[in-house]
Symmetry: C2
Subunit: 199 residues, 2 copies
């Protein structure tokens, strides 16, 4: 006799939910059942929000940040210093920098970082667009804000080389102790960089 | 100056995702960004699966299990013993029992359990439907398979009372040591029930 399963529609939903990051088979089932029977659930609203996002949200052709119907919130904002470009790996890196309030220039999202092991080569990133933007802004300052791990460093090194022929100054974010972090929690590499960068 | 945020469409998606069980603000953002930019993501498929579920999946009017377009997989299955009814709290309780392969009768999902504190009264559960089914099947066996916690027990007691006027035998799932569980892991209540139910 056939084994009883959820209806095909529910199984299709579970298998789509399972593909989301951080959602395993059990939580996918839990979420599906919640969406099906909880009075607090709104599967149609979630479905609509997904449709909207898939249909409307794009990467800004200039900076690579997410843009909706109202255009790029960063590029279109008045009063930003257009002569300073902060280069980040992902559009998601923009918000933490914005929250810090310390940077008032424009961004350039690469869309990733160089990673030969994962098959990410320079032509897979938005590096050509970066060079074009820098050429169009003589005397610009470019702040490389990639991660401070091996691949992020390699990406920064590569960009420094590429940009050396342009009329711009290239800086990198400082490395050292995180604010509020005691010495006992700092790893050796962080400590050695904090010493190198002492001032 | 306005603070930079994700576009309205992305924020709407994040706020819908945050309402799912086990998904906090950070994972909602992570899932939204994955859906927006990962080549492995399929937001339209997820949206479609949600629409399908919301539009098609219902509770079976007889047993309360989920039914899709193909009808109730349990009620429509040939060869089940229609004289035995297993009463469970939720439709999700059906699959674990089916997986055990030990039960070949029909189910009745109550849609919850009695809980005065949460305002769940007898008329909020599918108890009237249960009584009707039992009356329509003279000599039926009703197996009460509610949880073995206080509210599940109270629900079982209530159902026993209600069904006492019907022509049916009412049993409950045995309580005792879980299979493979050593005595050292058993709590006092489980042990005392294992002693009471010894055979």
């Amino acid at each position: 006799m056939a084994r009883i399963e959820y209806p095909a529609e529910v199984r299709a939903l579970v298998s789509e939910l399972k593909r989301l990051p951080g959602v395993g088979p059990r939580s996918a089932e839990r979420i599906a059942v919640f969406l099906l029977q909880s009075p607090k659930a709104s599967p149609r609203e979630l479905s609509g929000a997904l449709q909207q996002c898939a249909g409307i949200v794009r990467a800004c052709p200039t900076c690579g940040f997410f843009t909706g119907e109202s255009g790029c919130a960063v590029c279109s904002e008045q009063g930003r210093d257009t002569a300073v470009l902060c280069v980040v790996e992902q559009p998601t890196d923009v918000l933490p920098i914005e929250r810090s309030g310390v940077f008032r220039g424009l961004y350039h999202c690469l869309g990733g970082r160089l990673s030969p092991l994962d098959g990410v080569r320079p032509e897979d990133l938005r590096i050509g667009e970066l060079v074009r933007r820098v050429r169009d802004t003589p005397g610009a300052e470019v702040i490389l804000a990639t991660s401070s791990d091996v691949e992020g460093e390699a990406t920064s090194n590569y960009l420094s080389d590429v940009l050396s022929s342009c009329d711009c100054s290239v800086t990198r974010l400082a490395q050292g102790l995180p604010a509020g972090g005691g010495l006992e929690f700092a790893d050796e590499l962080t400590l050695s960089r904090a010493f190198e960068g002492r001032r």
